[in-house]
């Protein structure tokens, strides 16, 4: 190779690198802008709809005016129900996977099961909820059926987060406790779980965010187009924020007229969901920074 060729080859190698780095940075930037753009757009169009009345009054005039209070309450109930089901089950599963199970076929089957459950499409959860909770167990379209369906949907998220939190607890903690003659269960319940609590909590919060935003699983199991009164028991149907957006945007006869309500509802939903996610993210990084071990 002549000297001139070698120089231009080196130049080409660095040019290629700059081009690549440029496109890598650009794609990261575009993704960040996509999130920002969507959020900013909804804020710009939705903020005018957000009034005290909008948040505290039920819809009126066949859902062309009024507020979204029943949908907020419904989403609240469904989410609380989902986490009440998924959190204990998820944490116990994670404790088994991280603390008790030994490598083998049984644990392999559980892991595949959890992974596959995580991949089931949300609409299929809806079908399952309809077939099992609504029809077979005769819960009807209700808070109970919807919460159970959402609970199963977020179960893999909770298991994953809780297991990660348990694995981050140093082995020395367990050994110190066991060396003092403390039983395994006491070691887990008094030492390991408290140390893992912030991580578990982060997972739970992310699960809440996910449950609050899902639409397809509650369409056939819990969500009502419109309810005149607030739910009286867990066997009542409820309105829910995500379903309310869908209904207003697609099913009404006054789609254009209710546009501001749609933007307002969408803004409330993303403020709720992204706010919840943000709490989880901040909590996690605070925990990581403060970690004493």
């Amino acid at each position: 190779m002549k000297k001139h060729d070698r120089v231009s080859f080196m130049k080409w190698r660095y040019l290629r690198q700059s081009l690549f780095f440029g496109s890598v940075r650009l794609s990261a930037l575009i993704i960040a802008l996509a999130l920002l753009g969507i959020v900013a757009f909804l804020i710009a169009h939705g903020y005018r709809a957000i009034t005290w009345d909008f948040l505290t009054l039920p819809p009126t005039d066949s859902m062309t005016r009024g507020g979204i209070m029943p949908a907020i309450i419904g989403t609240f109930y469904l989410t609380i129900g989902a986490i009440a089901i998924a959190l204990p089950l998820g944490v116990v599963s994670a404790v088994y996977l991280a603390e008790y199970a030994k490598q083998g076929r049984f644990i392999r089957i559980i892991r595949i099961g959890v992974n596959c459950l995580a991949g089931v499409p949300s609409v299929v959860f809806g079908l399952f909820g309809l077939g099992f909770f609504v029809v077979f167990l005769k819960f009807g379209s209700s808070i109970l059926a919807g919460s159970l369906t959402l609970g199963i949907l977020i179960l893999p998220t909770i298991i994953g987060a809780a297991e990660e939190a348990l694995k981050a607890v140093p082995q020395t903690f367990r050994e110190a406790s066991l060396a003092l003659g403390v039983s395994k269960w006491r070691t887990i319940s008094r030492i390991v779980l408290p140390s893992a609590l912030p991580g578990v909590l982060t997972g739970a919060i992310l699960g809440v965010g996910r449950a609050a935003g899902e639409t397809a699983p509650i369409m056939f199991t819990a969500a009502a187009f419109f309810t005149a009164v607030l739910p009286q028991s867990i066997f009542d149907e409820v309105m829910a924020l995500p379903y309310h957006i869908y209904v207003l945007a697609t099913a009404g006869t006054h789609i254009e007229q209710t546009r501001p309500l749609q933007y307002g509802t969408a803004l409330v939903l993303i403020a709720l969901v992204l706010g919840i996610d943000l709490i989880a993210i901040v909590l996690r990084s605070a925990v990581r920074r403060k970690k004493r071990w």
Partner: protein, 295 residues
């Protein structure tokens, strides 16, 4: 002794509770089949899968879901064409190039993007992208394959990016150092050493991203336009499987052929995503990155 007994009881109880996830998966399969299989007394499996007419409310009804399957596949493949490069490049940026602060922020951004409710993305596609597309390209409707694929890509990018990033991050430092020591540039190291070493994780990421896209419901329900016909062009409307299920289940009388056909569509969707997930699980186990020794 009582403490020993208690330990054993707790262990087995926890094992059972952990096994509930598997039982739930089994229950899902059981109830999908219970409600879906009756359709095959009215239509053969071949007619169901390959029939081109989806007219569940006509008399006599037609239950051919080929247009729905084709719709699902097209939007998924197109979404992946967008999401894979974006997701992978962003993962490379986060894992290999970005300064620590930007890295933290970007990871949070991607997590928030993953948390964005799909109904909000569907709404955005419907009220923003669709009218713009219709006007700019002078189309009969903005609710079409391209719009849907773009929105689905937004849903798939976080999955692809975060799993790829984990895989890239797990590549041992020695690999990179060996490559630099041989005089390779950072670009050459990333493309010829780091990415190939993380390939199994990246493949898993792509498969799971596609699985997320094909199962996504609200976006395809609101943005795909809903035409149950095999599309002739990229600006045609389609009716992917999840959209059909979500849109029609409310109106299908309980126990009718239509009701069973929608559950059977759910079975097809479930089997496709299950295959994707098992394949991803297989790849990540078969080609586990276990340090320098395995390469």
């Amino acid at each position: 002794m009582t403490s020993r007994v208690r330990e054993i009881i707790i262990k087995n109880l926890f094992a059972f509770l952990a096994f509930i996830s598997v039982l739930l998966l089994g229950l899902i399969v059981m109830f999908l089949f219970r409600e879906g299989l009756p359709i095959f007394s009215q239509v053969s499996l071949k007619q169901f899968l390959f029939g081109t007419g989806w007219y569940p409310t006509y008399t006599p009804p037609e239950y051919g879901i080929r247009p729905l399957i084709v719709g699902s596949l097209i939007v998924t493949v197109l979404a992946s064409l967008v999401a894979v490069p974006f997701g992978l490049l962003t993962a490379i940026y986060i894992s290999e190039i970005a300064p620590a602060r930007i890295k933290e922020i970007l990871k949070s951004v991607i997590e928030l993007l993953a948390g964005l409710p799909s109904v909000v993305l569907g709404f955005f596609g419907m009220v923003v992208l669709a009218p713009w597309m219709q006007e700019t390209f002078d189309l009969p409707t903005g609710l079409n394959i391209v719009n849907t694929s773009l929105m689905l890509a937004v849903m798939a990018i976080p999955t692809i990016s975060s799993i790829s990033e984990d895989a890239l991050y797990a590549v041992p430092r020695d690999f990179k150092e060996a490559s630099y020591a041989l005089g390779a540039t950072k670009y050459e190291t990333i493309v010829k050493v780091v990415v190939p070493a993380a390939l199994s994780g990246i493949s898993t990421a792509v498969i799971l991203g596609m699985s997320r896209a094909i199962g996504e419901t609200m976006v395809v329900l609101m943005v795909a336009g809903g035409a149950a016909a095999i599309p002739q062009g990229l600006f045609d409307s389609v009716r992917p499987m999840p959209a059909s299920i979500a849109a029609e289940m409310g109106e299908a009388p309980f126990g009718s052929g239509h009701y069973h056909a929608l559950f059977a569509t759910g079975i097809v969707l479930f089997i496709i995503t299950l295959a994707f997930n098992l394949f991803a699980d297989y790849i990540s186990n078969r080609f586990k990155e276990e340090g320098s020794g395995t390469l």
